[in-house]
Symmetry: C2
Subunit: 345 residues, 2 copies
């Protein structure tokens, strides 16, 4: 398919392939006259490097691989957009893979990316433990950064937000709005996000003296359906808490939907919070109070770490970096303080 090769350019310019390569890659000394001839020939023939041949020879591909748990989760797609944006500045390309929340698929994607000689990998591991072996194995072969989620027992760089601090803000805000009891709806504790958020939730609830009934902790998955189902169970059980804290926005959207269906007023009867600040979080009825992750900063740090790791290569494998950025609380209408503030206008 690659019709025009370096050999054809060299022939046309009347030089060797070595010289052509030197001109085009800008390395090595070349006389001005020859350089012009070569560039001209390349231009005329419409020459484009063959990245495959180059990748075989060098080991660089100017390419970064990214693996996310689910491409249908808007949080991850916006994270992907941020990463892509940052990479563009570096002249690198992104190859995206979807693990469909399955560690086995994830492992295949990782090894496939590694085999294709990407320069580095950014991964948000699907599972808090089962993703471990594949992630570690991949990290041993090339630069790897975990994003948002991380997997226990591995030794790689990580960039994300301080979930515990975020939950502290959420709980303080709910408490301020009058909440004295709270329920939690998240995914199973098989990934670090829910785990951390739940831990932060528990701790701050305790510190604030808010009650958390053991029956009011629901762990399923990150989906609207699950949020809806869990909320329905909560309502059916009869004993509604003052607030429902959700591990992500999808769940929270399901919860507010269920509340609408049951005729339960949000935030008057129950306050609801989400997490991630996906675009749709402001479109719900009511608009969700949620936690915003600084996606662009996260992406930037991740790419920076990757670049640093590439340079360091095998030389010094220092301790891995763990960068926790500071999230912000976005107050909207699903919590009381937010609704009050709005009402003042």
């Amino acid at each position: 398919m690659q019709r025009v090769t370096i050999a054809q350019v060299s022939e046309r310019a009347g030089v060797s392939t070595a010289t052509v390569s030197r001109v085009l890659s800008g390395k090595g000394p070349v006389s001005a006259a020859v350089e012009r001839r070569v560039r001209r020939a390349a231009e005329e023939l419409g020459y484009q490097v063959n990245p495959i041949a180059r990748a075989l020879r060098n080991s660089r591909t100017d390419t970064v691989g990214m693996v996310v748990p689910s491409i249908s989760n808007p949080f991850f797609t916006s994270l992907v957009e941020s990463v892509e944006h940052v990479l563009e500045r570096e002249g690198k390309e992104l190859f995206l893979s979807d693990a469909r929340s399955d560690p086995a698929i994830e492992a295949r994607r990782l090894s496939s990316l590694a085999a294709r000689n990407v320069d580095g990998i950014i991964v948000s591991p699907s599972h808090g433990t089962e993703s471990g072996p594949a992630v570690q194995e991949t990290a041993d072969r090339l630069p790897l950064v975990q994003l948002d989620r991380f997997v226990g027992g591995t030794n790689t760089d990580w960039v994300g937000v301080d979930d515990v601090a975020a939950m502290r803000m959420v709980m303080d805000h709910l408490h301020e709005g009058g909440a004295r009891s709270a329920a939690f709806i998240g995914s199973l504790l098989t990934n670090s996000s829910t785990e951390q958020r739940f831990a932060g939730f528990r701790r701050r609830a305790e510190e604030l003296g808010m009650s958390v009934h053991p029956d009011q902790v629901f762990l399923g998955d990150y989906s609207v359906d699950w949020g809806e189902a869990a909320a329905a169970r909560l309502v059916d059980a009869g004993n509604l808490p003052d607030a429902i804290v959700c591990a992500d926005d999808l769940i929270a959207l399901g919860v507010t939907r269920a509340c609408r269906a049951y005729g339960i007023a949000v935030p008057d009867q129950v306050q609801v919070t989400g997490y991630d600040n996906i675009e749709f979080s402001r479109l719900g009825e009511p608009a969700l109070t949620t936690v915003d992750q600084p996606r662009d900063r996260i992406a930037e740090e991740a790419v920076r770490l990757l670049a640093a790791a590439s340079r360091a290569a095998d030389t010094d494998r220092g301790p891995s970096a763990r960068i926790a950025l500071v999230p912000t609380l976005v107050v909207r209408d699903s919590t009381r303080a937010g609704a009050a503030r709005r009402a003042q206008h």
Copy 2:
């Protein structure tokens, strides 16, 4: 990075690299004894083929590239999921790129994928005309299928739905619900989707005798914000139509949001329809009546066409296929007939 090569396997098994290759690729005659030795050696060393070397030698990569206008549009991500699912069965991998609705970026992504020797490309072109050159050029080099959207003046396969038929269903449904006038909100007519849908809208409106005021056609982009802004303008202008037909669900979500803000009852004062049946379309308030595209079927046909094109290769370049699948109307609560039907329960 690729530590163990075919040479090491051959050494360990005491045969030539040629034989190892023959065993591992299953081609050519090999004695049972040798085969066993080679497999054993490969196993013990943990050999994995280097896809780059293979791609350089052959021209196949067992890889398909896909380019979508926007990864943050849920319709495209679910289309990607469908495609990925189908490809998995064929043992192929998908590389996804986001064109960010920019024909220039799109062109770069296409040529990068082509250069990387993907076996085929699936693209939903960003622009109805400007995407043309890059798409055609790419299609001349390797199998390419356009999905959902298409670009004028190109000669490639296409798979999508019959937008005109879909709009006929939408309009009939609205008419049945009592609508006698309608507005249209879409993106600029720079992509085939809006173009076709608008054409279908116009034609059926005329046939049904529904009035369409020239000032009530709003063309912007595919986003919630645009839907909201256009709806606001429509309301401010004072003369509300019986129905607002949107070119996709994001726009429709913006419209229903604006209606809520303005205290306009949907569907009682104005009926609203979307298009694509993205997950969030059922979460709006009210849940959207929309058009469902058979994504899995679309993905299947696309992959099938790609495979066929690969086989045919350069031999016979027949006329390109244009496969328009039949969409279905999903009636929910944003239209009157839908609300009535629901109310019966």
